[in-house]
Amino acid sequence: MPRSPILPLLILWCLVTLAFAAALALGAQDIAPGQVMGAIMGDRGPAADVVLGLRLPRAAAAVFVGGALAVAGVVMQTLARNPLADPSLTGVNAGAALAVVLGLMSFGVMPRPLVAALAFGGAAAAAIIVRLLAGHGDTTLRLPLAGAAFASICMSIVALVVLLNPEARNIYRFWMVGSLAMADLQGLAMLVPVGLLGVLCALFAARGIEALMLSDELGAALGVSPGQVLTLALLAIALTAGASVALAGPVGFIGLIAPHIARRIVGSGLSRLILASVPLGAILALVADVIGRVAIRPSELPIGIVLAIFGAPAFMLFARQLVRGPK
């Protein structure tokens, strides 16, 4: 009988709280912990405005984006039997970004539900296309390669479309690397239910996915219909990745790293992996955002760049273990 995951989960959520507090206190100007507490308790003043008006929405967005991307990553890695899968490496984020940018350029300002719907549609389409490109069999190397090719096509179109519109240039970096600088509470309130729905889909499909991964026959014997399970899994990926792209652009590597750490902490078992990946993704996003704000004060590095700098070596490490491993 595997250990109960309750204790590790509790510890992880405590760490999320710590990182959250750090995200409120650190930034272009550091604010003392006492003042942060005061602001939360209802004090007024410039420090409180920064904490509540700017940093709180941003930290909340980081928790949400990190958790959602981590879930998308776990589901993708399990489905593809490929530890190198991640919504950005497989082109899913890029597909969502392309859909939203094309929408923005053709309709101008869009209502938020439409943005979310476009991101969702783009993510789903990208997931299907890349999966078809990679084909069946051993996708260890094919999936990241096909994903990189697909992502670079999407991103060059995004770049072209955005740059041809002089007014839209200020959002260029947001759509190229992802950033939390534009996250606000209204957007968060709209997208959190979408992301949560995705997480629920993932949890609901977890048992079915595991049975299918063992073998189709076993799945059938357990009363699992492959079509239903795959649809649910795709829904989970597209909802979580789409919601996070709609809020923060195509942020990478959380979906790659969080599941790897989660496996170390809670072992195998998809539902517990999902539950552990959410806080881990949140911690990664919070820490990366804080590093981005502190590293080159007074200007800041977008979270996407910080994550790429730390995530790319992690990818190389995982890839090395895979290529070297038993063949």
Partner: protein
């Protein structure tokens, strides 16, 4: 014959590149202006000609180094822009720029370092350097170097995203005669590669066979890789990392040369590729002057997808 045809294509594209821009000229007008550098030809000789020349040299250099890396690793995906060498050269160049050093030297160091790192990461005691591992590790190195480059630029320029973008996509904007002069320094690097067709052809054979045919295999591999890396670095120092030129030129040239590696064809294809992308850049958005690298990526990415699909079908990955 094929070479003559490609030279004709390149010349035609070059003529078009001289004709197209903020003001369009008829081909006869271009030729007339070329003969009159002081009067009507001032714009062409002063602005469009250096841009064209650097574009041609950059494209040829990238095409050459792409073919060399692809041949050495026996894999059409293993071009310097996929395995991270272009990006590490760009990182080196930007580092040099920030510290006030010579940009070209920085790019050279970056390119050589990237090559060594990838070779080391993809090394396996049993089977030597594996192309699969090189491609996979290179994917990571490329992302890492691009992110690090962007971080450096944002730090130095107080968040000036426009500069970062230009340096990450590659552009021919702002090219003048001084850059042409620098580009000419690259010719000594390109010349041995242009003449290396026979060696490349033999290096594709199993190593012992190549040795029997008189190729000193390890020396030839290291020498060719170093030259190709330096050439990539030199081009990156001039124009930034023009994406996918190196990747696309190799497979296209092989198709024309019946599967054989042909450096001359690869150089010509690379040169016409960059010229075509630059024509597009100036024809589609003459006012915005978007970086040429955007268009090379736009044309090249579908070619990458086609190469990938063919590789997957052959079950090479």
């Amino acid at each position: 014959m094929r070479v003559a045809l490609l030279i004709a294509v390149t010349l035609a594209l070059a003529l078009a590149a001289l004709a197209i821009g903020r003001s369009w000229l008829a081909p006869q007008a271009v030729l007339a202006a070329l003969a009159d550098p002081e009067g009507t030809g001032r714009m062409i000789w002063g602005l469009r000609m250096p841009r064209l020349l650097v574009g041609l040299i950059a494209g040829a250099g990238l095409g050459l180094s792409g073919l060399v890396f692809q041949t050495l690793l026996r894999n059409p995906l293993a071009s310097p822009d996929i395995i991270g060498i272009t990006q590490s050269a760009a990182f080196g160049a930007v580092c040099a720029m920030m510290t006030g050093g010579a940009v070209m030297a920085g790019a050279w160091i970056g390119a050589l370092a990237g090559t060594v790192v990838i070779g080391w990461l993809a090394w396996d005691r049993r089977s030597g350097i594996s192309a699969r591992a090189a491609v996979l590790q290179g994917l990571g190195l490329a992302i890492l170097c691009s992110a690090a480059t962007e971080a450096l630029i944002l730090r130095a320029s107080d968040g000036n995203a426009g500069m970062a973008m230009t340096w990450l996509t590659g552009t021919l904007n702002g090219i003048g005669w001084p850059q042409v002069q620098q580009a000419l320094w690259l010719l000594p690097l390109a010349l041995p590669l242009l003449l290396s067709g026979r060696t490349l052809d033999r290096l594709e054979l199993p190593d012992d066979l190549a040795r029997a045919l008189g190729v000193r295999v390890p020396q030839a591999r290291i020498g060719l890789a170093a030259l190709a890396a330096l050439l990539t670095g030199g081009v990156v120092a001039l124009t930034g990392p023009l994406g996918f030129v190196a990747l696309a030129a190799g497979p296209l040239s092989r198709r024309l040369a019946r599967g054989r590696p042909s450096p001359v064809l690869a150089a010509l294809i690379g040169a016409s590729f960059v010229t075509l992308a630059d024509i597009l850049a100036r024809a589609i958005s003459p006012a915005a002057l978007l970086p040429t690298g955007l268009y090379t990526a736009l044309i090249g990415a579908p070619i990458l997808l086609i190469v990938l699909a063919a590789e997957f079908r052959r079950n090479r990955y």
